[in-house]
Amino acid sequence: MLTHLAALLLAPGAAGLSAGTSFLTAAPIEADRPVQVAAVTGDYLYWSFPATAGQQPHLTATVTLPPAADRHGAQAWTIEVFDGLRRRQPCVAGEQSPIAEPAATDITLGCDLRQIRSWAEPSDQDPLPGTYYVRLTSTEIPEQDLGLPLKVDLTLTAEKGDTGADQGTLAAPLNPVSRPGTVSADVPTPAVSPSADPDDTSAFSFVPEFSSRWIWTTTGGVLAAVAGLVGFSFTRRRRP
């Protein structure tokens, strides 16, 4: 039973049962599909997930630590989130870097990202639609505790927030490059290739997508009409 379970856990490509060891090999995860991974202390575990504008990704990880008898001190753990350009994204809530006491049997980490924006200035570090990376690792650990087996449970939830506060769209999501580059010795003469027009040229592109702004504005129009009727009725001559 145990070997069967282990084989299941280690099966390659089995969704929800693996983790990568670098940005390039990060294992994809999905919202509301918990993953469980067997690993060892000192491993750097990578996952990746896609996010769209308006989402509020929320990560929770539980690490089942090696038996306390095998450990020699406290361990500092951390969960970090990077965007598709490998830029560190701050966690606005959640226990991001807890310390496991020597007697603890498990440790829980959490990270709430800011709401994904639909557009940001290029020089901003704001979270944008695209791929996100999660890295889970121990940052401070007694040297003799390296390499001990442990288990990691990770859950991602991504509630859809209101996009009404945001304007603009990103022409291309922040996704990692997945092809090897080429090197040339000198700058090529800039080809006059007509760069694809990023703007959506359909007739309805000026209509903003549905958000709370639609409700506020429509309600405002109705109230204004009612107020107009009320104002009109004030001026009617009262009959004695």
């Binding site: 350009l85 040297e143 090897p180 309600t219 004030f234």
Partner: protein, 389 residues
């Protein structure tokens, strides 16, 4: 078996993995679940071989398996490949494993070099899984230095290490080897742990990274810098070094770049990396940076930039770092992964077309009220003048 490598060459170079097993005298110790280390390792290997996917290109090499004498010079040359790299025939592989007898010295450095030769220098991802119960008894060469050299030669060789009930020296050596090549270290104190971990490592090796970055060498100035197209690159950067790259950019495009520097050696506690975009004459456009402390495998930074109305057709990217390490500064630089992308630039949005909030409602209601009153007065005045005429 003979036809196997030919088939392997046809299928766009599947990843290769070599298990390197220590069969030195110390493997006779009876300390894993009351059995000898070698007996446990043999059974674990048998299980792993049975469970291998057919496509895995696997080889097995042993060290310290044949020479039982005391002559260190001879004992330290003792490493053989018992299963050549290729699709594994379980029966033959298990027979080869079963014949092993714990015997001699522990020439880890030599075995790593030999294993790297076995794996060849192709485009395929290459991985070594080193399983040992003791430190190298044949230093020099120091196996950690060997690992660093191997990693510097080819960018795609990774060494994962597994310590069987390791002592402190063994653990430190194995951690050093795995860190130098971007691999992992694990210890095993039971058969289950050993089997699980070896299988996990072999499975990981069987799934190659989705892309193999192209090698590039950054220059010391922008004028001499290599010109990069969109894609992934690897390079090496020494501590305190600045590396320049150039990226051509067309109007209406946005440059996206990110860099990861791997910590392949022990470094001082705090460190950072800086990725800067500048014009060819040195004016800074934007920067991405990150700093951290403690254990880490890589530290990354990224940036976005689009020229807007400026006429800039070439951007210089400068990668610098703020590491400090006791490891010899002349050693090969730290591995660096650079990703470049050029996409259509995003346009800055207009002011919002719709409103929100209580203030909006209040303004609309007051405006409606005023408009209603005015309309009422106007109507009355108009009706009055119409009646008079």
């Amino acid at each position: 078996m003979g036809a196997a490598p030919a088939r392997a060459d046809e299928t766009s170079e599947p990843p290769r993995v070599e298990l390197v097993l220590d069969v030195s005298g110390s493997m006779r110790a009876k300390d894993i679940d009351g059995e000898t280390r070698i007996a446990v390792a043999k059974r674990a290997f048998g299980q792993v071989v049975d469970g291998l996917p057919e496509t895995t290109q696997l080889g097995i090499r042993v060290l310290g398996a044949t020479y039982g004498g005391d002559d260190k010079r001879k004992g330290c040359q003792d490493t053989q490949s018992i299963v050549p790299i290729g699709p594994v025939e379980p029966v033959a592989a298990k027979n080869a494993i079963a014949r092993l007898q714990p015997t001699g010295f522990t020439p880890i450095g030599l075995a790593l070099r030999a294993a790297a030769r076995d794996l060849g220098t192709g485009e395929a991802a290459r991985r070594i899984v080193l399983i040992t119960d003791g430190e190298d008894t044949c230093t020099p060469p120091d196996p950690c230095t060997v690992a660093r050299q191997l990693a510097a030669q080819g960018t795609k060789l990774v060494v994962d290490t597994l310590g069987l009930t390791p002592d402190e020296k063994t653990r430190k050596q194995l951690v050093c080897i795995s860190t130098a090549t971007g691999g992992t270290y694990a210890s095993a104190t039971s058969e289950q742990e050993l089997t699980d971990r070896v299988r996990q490592l072999v499975d990981r090796a069987a799934v190659p990274p989705p892309v193999t970055p192209a090698a590039v060498t950054g220059a010391a100035t922008c004028e001499k810098a290599p010109v990069l197209s969109a894609g992934l690159f690897t390079d090496r950067e020494r501590i305190g070094e600045h590396r320049y790259y150039r990226v051509p950019l067309q109007p209406g495009q946005e440059l996206r770049a990110s860099v990861s520097v791997a910590l392949d050696r022990p470094v001082n506690r705090d460190y950072g990396v800086l990725l800067k975009a500048a014009t060819p004459n040195g004016r800074e456009l934007v920067r991405g940076l990150d700093a951290s402390s403690g254990r880490a495998d890589v530290i990354s930074a990224g940036l976005r930039w689009s020229p807007g109305d400026e006429a800039i057709d070439t951007v210089c990217l400068i990668v610098s770092n703020s590491f400090a390490s006791a490891t010899s500064a002349g050693a090969p630089g730290m591995p660096l992964e650079l990703s470049i992308d050029t996409v259509a630039a995003s346009t800055a949005p207009d002011a919002p077309g719709l409103g929100r909030g209580w203030l909006l409602l209040l303004v609309l209601v007051v405006a409606g009220l005023i408009a209603g009153v005015l309309a009422g007065w106007l109507t009355r005045w108009w009706v009055a003048t119409w009646r008079e005429n």
